[in-house]
Symmetry: C2
Subunit: 197 residues, 2 copies
């Protein structure tokens, strides 16, 4: 076993350990209470190593969130079961929000005002775009099958379900549960997009 005693890690090895530590802290104490020293200690790294890489706590956590985000993006193939596909994807998003990743998002919201615009924009689209792409794919498939109205391809509509999930997560302290997903679909999304065919 070459890795049993890492001795002293460097580069990506160390960086990933720091990310994992940051996400773990995030999950345990919530964004507002993440301490740099705690992250360093948990990663068994020096505080200086953190500040060598990121200028402050906000940036470190953004980087950790981004690292995590790139991990989870699934390729999704519509099955033909419109509602079933939507349920699956929405539950996936809710589950993501329940993870440290969700806590990172919450913290990022709180700091929006004091972060450079282009940075927030970058992170925002990085999260939003993959979701939009998946929903767009599902909707396009539905349009092709005649189950979804063509107007549903408008960006605002495509982004509707994720927006509602996110709004709920941010204003309540927890993600939407399965019953909530059903409600959103049955009372809002499906009536809006479905042809009734």
């Amino acid at each position: 076993m070459t890795e049993s005693t890492p001795g002293r890690r460097r580069g990506d090895d160390l960086e990933h350990a720091i990310f994992d530590a940051a996400l773990a802290e995030l999950a345990e104490v919530g964004y507002a209470n993440v301490r740099m020293e705690a992250v360093a200690a948990r990663a068994k790294a020096g505080k200086a190593s953190l500040y060598k890489r990121w200028p402050d706590r906000a940036r470190l956590i953004q980087a950790a969130a981004r690292y995590k985000a790139t991990e989870v993006e699934p390729e999704f193939e519509p099955s033909g079961d419109l509602r079933g596909d939507l349920v699956k994807v929405m539950r996936h998003i809710a589950a993501q929000q329940a993870s440290p990743f969700g806590e990172a998002i919450r913290g990022w919201i709180g700091e929006l005002r004091s972060t450079p615009a282009e940075l927030t924009e970058e992170l925002r689209t990085r999260i939003e775009n993959p979701r939009i792409r998946i929903f767009a794919k599902i909707f396009e498939d539905g349009v092709a099958r005649g189950t979804v109205k063509p107007e549903a391809l408008h960006p605002r509509v495509v982004n509707l379900a994720p927006a509602l999930l996110t709004h709920y997560f941010l204003t309540k302290a927890e993600p939407v549960d399965d019953a909530g997903v059903d409600e959103i679909l049955d009372h809002i999304v499906m009536p809006l997009i479905s042809t009734g065919a």
Copy 2:
């Protein structure tokens, strides 16, 4: 003039001065950067006076937001022009978000995880309920006139427009503009609730 030289204010007089100072700071530096000393200085008050009233920064700002919130609640009478009424109310909400009040909301989101549940729930419903009531009134009026489907009275649907406004405000750094309000109405809310009559 009895108030030209306040000498030393007490009670509500002082309290309101502190609230105004807190909201001004909020607007200037954003939630994350509000300093107790700055609020005290701006209100020309002692820091001890703040801590005598509220246990910490989060509570002070919550109190200030609540103080402001009670100021702004309008009684709204539906005019019969469904879309026009919705535009009016939605723009009002967007304007509120552009004020210090909006910044307070943003900060509150960031701290949700580390605040007692009943307190956040109280504040949440305090903001949500009046809005729901207004939209419900408009929708009920529409149902009575036959322009709105009865299904639109479902809570999720009633809360849809405010939820989208809030989601936009939280994830972008600014409130929805007038064109955005139109888009939300034309592509989501109206198609969903309107009878087409």
